[in-house]
Symmetry: C2
Subunit: 200 residues, 2 copies
């Protein structure tokens, strides 16, 4: 390894190590010491990049969000052009659920992050901003689908946005084997059918 290691690259490697620990062993195990060990750096080196566990977590979540956005982008590229708004919303929602290993890691990171954020004002601002941005993006998609007549008139875009985001509650049910992946997808499709009307 060259002496001059790329700062950004090493931060990403550390985020990856944190991510593996959270996915496989849980958030409680993700101490600074354990993450340093997994990333193959000393505790001092780790502290050079992140002064606290909360700071490390904030970076790892930003990284996880980037990964989710990249998965959504790849999914969008596979849809019709222009894509049907139902397909776009389905993609955004299902990429937030632990239906595949990649999305499972993000979902677990997210659960840990949300729990920590409830009691950490700085994290709460960060995650709140991220979620409100996500909410605005979904609301824009729903307003556009209403304007273009894909969604029957009279639906309240704010309420429909909250309902759609509420379905991320399926993540917990999936993680704990209360709901099977196929059943989660049926529930999502049932909800979208009711929002858009059945596919034409």
């Amino acid at each position: 390894m060259p002496k001059q290691v790329d700062h950004h690259e090493r931060r990403e490697a550390i985020a990856g190590a944190l991510w593996r620990i959270v996915d496989q062993q849980g958030w409680a195990r993700a101490t600074m010491r354990e993450v340093a060990r997994e990333a193959g750096v000393s505790l001092g080196q780790l502290q050079h990049y992140f002064s606290s566990r909360a700071e490390m977590l904030a970076f790892a979540m930003e990284y996880a969000s980037q990964q989710t956005r990249a998965r959504v982008e790849r999914g969008l590229a596979e849809l019709d052009h222009p894509p049907h708004p139902r397909d776009v919303l389905r993609l955004v929602l299902t990429e937030m659920l632990p239906l595949r290993p990649e999305a499972r890691a993000t979902s677990r990171m997210n659960a840990a992050y949300v729990l920590e954020a409830m009691h950490d004002p700085a994290l709460k601002r960060q995650v709140g901003t991220g979620l409100r941005d996500g909410r605005s993006m979904v609301e824009r998609l729903i307003r556009q689908a209403l304007d273009e007549g894909h969604i029957p008139p009279g639906r309240d875009p704010g309420v429909e946005t909250d309902l759609l985001l509420a379905l991320t509650g399926l993540a917990t049910l999936l993680e704990l084997d209360v709901v099977e992946p196929q059943a989660a997808l049926r529930a999502v499709d049932q909800h979208l059918d009711r929002l858009f009307g059945p596919p034409s």
Copy 2:
């Protein structure tokens, strides 16, 4: 304090102490040592009741579930007799959301517990069993409402049950101020309107 302290009572006092710490400071702070301090017992005394943090958490969750059931029971007593199934489902769902301080504590306990359960097979069995029991109860209510004609025929009770439980995803959105309590209730009502048809 008499020497002979009621075992059950002290366990409940310890669960209460754990619960306050989780509500106010977060799960990461709820170590055995911190809970002993908050409950006013020695670490040795605490270990006499709970041999591990996971065991203490399992008991506290059972206690939180009892509190939730008690709140639902009290709410049921205030409904018409016989209650409309829509009102029953609305009560069950809203008592799972952090809309009031009491329910907020339960909801935070639950989030911590679920996160821990993802990586602890014994906890996962316990929480999974609890959630599957809850799911069965909701499905029975929906089947009965279908049989009695409150819900339009042709709805799939399994899918409708999963969709209703998925709305517990509102808990996170409420905790992080992404959705306001009134908006969460509007979303719940919109969903129930669509399931039952508008109130007659």
